[in-house]
């Protein structure tokens, strides 16, 4: 397609602004997301379709998506117009999947200015549309994407079967084709060594727990994604309600774990947070992985009142801008991993030089009320 490439970095919300966004329970629930998969009735699924068919699907779906009021003035482009670095930036912002980042000709992307709606065209399915919200807002995200989907079904002919629901490329997504998920920051459960039993019991409830960047990734920075696994035989609202209930329990467990750690092992907690600050504020070379894990502890330090509350957005911003593609975008895409580690450390030292050392005496003042059990 001969469209002029859009400037992605001019469109994306700045990391500083993203870090200032708030939602319910956002100390623990970083974001909520509901994703729907849809396919057109008369075309092969993207993984099996030949290029001309994929292009035709893209040409059918993209204008339909662009015509929706929610996606007016949206960023809209074909994947071949995006550089590898741009795609990686989008992955780091959690706007697209790693699978979609690997797509080129025949795939497309549309997302709105607020970054609250994002539509991937020809990922694993013809359409993967998602609504994103800060904090715990599963119901809001579901109703937003439900509405978008209802508008879109008037313009597109979906593959739907009375018995099996929405038909998807992978049978695991069949039926509602919905994935409801939340990104959780759980340093308390990790430090208290309670995370594994929690993950196991969540798994038993038919929910999946994944790492920071979704399927098959590790839990960097104590960030975990919890989502439904089953999509057939249960309605969307039931799935949302079930996940919401489980998330409320995880929040409670995380709060309890933090409280107990502070009461029983305050030195252990302060030691972890103090060392995290020490390294982040003084290192001259630091990897992305170590940075995430230590920033997670600083974030916990803000939650526990060891750092002033206003430092939270600074920490959250660093979470975004210290990732590899973001660093390359800011400096140069020719940076080697070693050079990135030096620049990352420079950035961290610079940004943290005005953040005073963690004040253990104030610790505990910023803690949430102990949850009622």
């Amino acid at each position: 397609m001969g469209t002029t490439p859009m400037k992605l970095d001019e469109f994306l919300i700045s990391p500083a602004e993203t870090a200032r966004r708030h939602g319910p329970h956002d100390r623990i629930v970083m974001s909520s997301r509901v994703r729907l998969a849809r396919n057109l009735k008369d075309a092969a699924f993207p993984g099996w379709a030949k290029k001309p068919e994929r292009l035709k699907v893209l040409e059918t779906i993209r204008p339909a998506v662009e015509s929706l009021p929610e996606l007016k003035d949206a960023f809209s482009d074909v994947m071949d117009n995006l550089t590898a670095l741009d795609k990686q930036i989008l992955v780091e912002r959690h706007l697209i999947s790693r699978e979609h980042a690997a797509k080129g000709s025949g795939s497309g992307l549309v997302f709105n200015r607020e970054e609250s709606f994002c539509v991937m065209i020809n990922e694993e399915d013809h359409l993967r549309m998602q609504a994103l919200r800060p904090g715990l807002q599963l119901r809001q995200a579901w109703s937003a994407i439900d509405h978008l989907d209802t508008e879109l079904e008037k313009k597109l002919d979906y593959a739907f079967n009375n018995e099996l629901g929405y038909l998807t490329a992978c049978p695991t997504n069949l039926g509602t084709a919905v994935r409801v998920s939340a990104m959780l920051h759980l340093p308390g459960l990790v430090l208290a060594e309670q995370i594994n039993p929690i993950i196991q019991s969540v798994n038993k409830l038919g929910l999946a727990v994944r790492g920071l960047y979704g399927e098959g990734t590790e839990a960097l920075g104590n960030v975990f994604q919890v989502s439904n696994q089953m999509t057939l035989g249960e309605g969307e609202s039931a799935i949302v309600e079930r996940l919401d209930k489980v998330l409320s329990q995880i929040i409670e467990h995380e709060e309890n774990a933090r409280q107990t750690l502070l009461e029983k092992k305050p030195k252990v907690v302060f030691n972890h947070i103090g060392r995290a600050y020490g390294i982040l504020a003084n290192a001259h070379s630091i990897s992305s992985k170590e940075t995430m894990n230590l920033l997670s502890l600083m974030r916990l330090g803000v939650d526990l009142g060891l750092f002033p509350a206003e430092e939270r957005s600074a920490v959250d911003e660093l979470f975004i801008v210290t990732q590899p593609a973001h660093l390359q975008k800011q400096f140069s895409d020719k940076l080697s991993a070693e050079e990135r580690d030096l620049l990352r450390a420079d950035m961290l030292r610079d940004r943290l030089k005005h953040v005073s050392r963690p004040n253990a005496k104030k610790g505990g003042s910023g803690l949430d009320k102990p949850a009622n059990l």
């Binding site: 396919n39 009735k41 075309a43 092969a44 699924f45 993984g47 099996w48 999947s97 790693r98 699978e99 694993e124 439900d146 989907d149 209802t150 079904e153 008037k154 979906y158 593959a159 739907f160 079967n161 009375n162 018995e163 099996l164 629901g165 929405y166 038909l167 490329a169 992978c170 049978p171 695991t172 069949l174 039926g175 509602t176 919905v178 038919g206 979704g214 399927e215 098959g216 089953m230 999509t231 057939l232 035989g233 249960e234 309605g235 969307e236 039931a238």
Partner: protein, 168 residues
């Protein structure tokens, strides 16, 4: 830890495989691992993605491995390779093999969620028809012919004319 296939012998082979963007962990005993051909490149990703036995289940369905989707040409071997289907019609083509698979991976096998507006009326109608037909069969079985006649009339009313929807 016991082998996830035989559930008898201790698992000594632990594998994590990434297929597309899906990761699956398996713990197998040596024999089952060998039987599954873990070190063999023909080890079916469908098994990893959709659970063990998935590829076998598919193979056992009518027509065997030779079955191809008449619309998109996708074959069972392709499914075994990718764990994904070729087009929406494939769900009809491979329906038999998929049934057990869906049962094992989902809460149910009947869609219980959103229905596109345009199909809602016909879906409600077909659900109602199914219910009436069930009632009719029961009435006949119970030799309750008066009720059966009533139900038959109701079914006639609900059945859209000329749609070819069968009443039997």
């Amino acid at each position: 830890m016991l082998c996830s296939i035989c559930k008898e012998k201790p698992a000594t082979v632990h594998i994590t495989q990434i297929v597309g963007d899906k990761a699956q962990k398996l713990d197998l005993c040596e024999e089952c691992a060998k039987a599954k051909g873990v070190n063999d490149p023909s080890f079916a990703p469908a098994d990893l993605m959709l659970g063990l036995g998935a590829s076998q289940e598919i193979e056992q369905s009518a027509g065997g491995v030779e079955t191809k989707c008449p619309r998109c040409g996708f074959s069972q071997a392709d499914f075994k390779k990718s764990g994904r289907l070729g087009c929406s019609e494939c769900y009809k083509t491979f329906a038999e093999g998929l049934e057990g698979l869906l049962k094992s991976m989902h809460k149910g096998t009947h869609h219980a969620g959103k229905v596109p507006e345009a199909l809602r009326a016909t879906r409600e109608q077909s659900d109602r028809l199914k219910l009436l037909q069930k009632k009719l069969a029961k009435a006949i079985e119970d030799e309750n012919f008066e009720q059966a006649a009533q139900l038959r009339d109701e079914i006639k009313q609900v059945t859209p004319r000329g749609t070819g929807l069968s009443v039997t």
